[in-house]
């Protein structure tokens, strides 16, 4: 691997991401785990930016950190209290779980090493927004609209289940 500044940044980000992910699954307080997940998603956005995908990085932050995680933290705050008795996140089978997780990740790493030679880290940021827009409203317009329909159905369903019993028809 080349010893350049982007590679160094990538290594730091990768270590940070692994550490944060470990906190997510081991933290005793659910709220702390969720905050660590938020930070991990932010680091993923940084990795996207390092790969030159500026639009995807910003969307990742906007949607995951600024939207989904806030709703998640909101729900945790509504359902828990800071001084609740904190349970362990693991049971006595954690050794086997860790073994299988390690085995699967080793297999994945070996497979990916065969496919990708070297890390594609770029410092030259070429704007990607225009080409993404052209793709979404050009060649890919039908799948794009289909996905929107799925989201619309989910919204309507949420409103329906949120109604009182007597309002449902």
């Amino acid at each position: 691997m080349e010893r350049t500044l982007p590679t160094l940044i990538f290594a730091c980000m990768a270590i940070l991401l692994i550490g944060l992910s470990l906190i997510v699954v081991t933290a005793r307080s659910v709220f702390r785990g969720a905050v660590a997940l938020t930070a991990a998603l932010g680091v993923v956005a940084a990795l996207f930016a390092l790969l030159g995908a500026d639009f995807v990085a910003a969307s990742q932050l906007l949607i995951y950190v600024g939207g989904i995680m806030i709703i998640m933290l909101f729900v945790i705050m509504l359902s828990q209290r800071p001084l609740d008795h904190l349970d362990r996140q693991t049971n006595e089978q954690w050794v086997w779980g860790a073994f299988f997780a390690l085995a699967i990740s080793c297999a994945l790493i070996m497979q990916f090493r065969a496919v990708y030679r070297g890390v594609f880290v770029t410092t030259v940021a070429t704007p990607t927004t225009a080409s993404i827009g052209r793709l979404l409203l050009g060649d890919m317009v039908v799948p794009f609209e289909a996905v929107s329909l799925v989201l619309l159905a989910a919204l309507v369903g949420a409103v329906y289940f949120g109604l009182d019993g007597k309002d449902r028809t």
Binding site: R32, V35, D54, L61, T129
Partner: protein
């Protein structure tokens, strides 16, 4: 003449080449240069809230037929400095029943995105820290991180009032983010770019010789977009009439009840810096950035930009003493049933206008 941008960049290049000449490796010199630039930006952004706090107290005083702070320095201009020193020396209290880590981290999470958000703001000709291609999206994305800090502050304080304040804050910030982003979409459609610098550059010039080509002067869509952006920005910065997350008559002080000393100062710094950021964005998006229509040649662009920004900051301060606070349900209804539909209508109208122009 008085343009700071070219002057600063020339001075910077001279400094950098001088350092390289004296045996510093180019990469180290580059990192050092970036560090100095970041330092200047962070310092300036930290100074802005001091000015705004003084302005707020003076404006509040004048609107209530008082004088405001008068004792520290001439006309009380050193009042904020004295307050800052006082806040630094105050005791830092962490409540017993709190989540310590969250309580300590919350002010940092709230305040650090602010400095990053100022990176793509075009303060004038050549005075743009980084010209990002996605700057508008970047600012919206990064400023969303502060909401996590508000939630952490509400949770970490370990009392009901803070928790309620944090919950209200999260609900409000998530809801008003949507019309705020949608209100900017017409601007992006007309200028065809996400870069604040290019948007500001696209608004230079005059219509019929007297009307500046600013986006606010586009018939109907310009004004509608600006009004929605302004209302949503006031809500995003938790200011009256949308200050229910920290409503002092109901929640003591909401999510920052349990913070004291420097942490409290940091939370306030973030709030005022966001007011300034929203105003700066409004200037770049709707008021032509550093464009000074007829007097353009005489007054430098950074002066125009700051002048317009402070004019919009004054609107924020004015609102505070004009409107009473909304109720929680009114707040949500206003967002979802008024702002959101009208911002979508505005996007449609803009599309129609672009179609008719062709």
């Amino acid at each position: 003449m008085l343009e700071l941008g070219p002057l600063l960049s020339r001075a910077f290049q001279a400094l950098q080449s001088w350092v390289i000449l004296h045996g510093v490796p180019p990469l180290a010199a580059w990192i050092l240069a970036k560090a100095i630039q970041v330092g200047v930006l962070v310092l300036l952004v930290s100074l802005v809230p001091m000015v705004l706090v003084y302005a707020e107290r003076k404006v509040a005083g004048f609107m209530q037929a008082r004088l405001g702070p008068m004792n520290v320095g001439p006309y009380g201009i050193f009042q904020t400095l004295a307050d800052g020193v006082k806040l630094i020396f105050k005791e830092d209290i962490i409540p017993v029943g709190s989540d310590r880590l969250m309580h300590i981290m919350a002010p940092m999470v709230v305040v650090s995105p602010v400095f990053v958000c100022f990176a793509p703001v075009p303060f004038g000709k050549g005075l743009i820290p980084i010209d990002l291609d996605i700057s508008v999206l970047f600012i919206f994305a990064i400023s969303g991180i502060s909401t996590i800090g508000v939630l952490m502050a509400g949770w970490g304080s370990g009392n009901k009032f803070s928790m309620l304040g944090g919950l209200r804050g999260a609900a409000q910030l998530v809801s008003y983010e949507i019309p705020r982003v949608l209100s900017v979409v017409p601007v992006l459609m007309v200028y065809g770019t996400l870069s604040l610098k290019s948007i500001a550059m696209g608004q230079v010039g005059l219509w019929h010789g007297f009307l500046p080509k600013w986006f606010i002067f586009y018939p109907f869509i310009g004004q509608l977009a600006f009004v929605i952006f302004l209302i949503a920005s006031v809500a995003e910065t938790n200011r009256t009439p949308f200050d229910i997350p920290e409503a002092e008559s109901e929640l003591v002080a909401g999510f920052h009840t349990e913070f004291s000393g420097l942490k409290f100062a940091l939370l306030f710094l973030a709030e005022y810096a966001y007011v300034f950021l929203s105003s700066a964005m409004a200037v770049a998006l709707f008021f032509g950035g550093g464009d000074g229509f007829t007097l353009g040649g005489w007054i430098p662009s950074w002066f125009w930009f700051l002048g317009k920004t402070f004019a919009i900051v004054f609107l924020f301060l004015w609102f505070r003493w004009t409107f009473p606070r909304l109720r929680v349900d009114q707040l949500m209804q206003f967002c979802w049933k008024f702002l959101l539909p009208w911002s979508i209508v505005n996007v449609g109208l803009t599309g129609l206008m672009i179609l008719l122009r062709k």
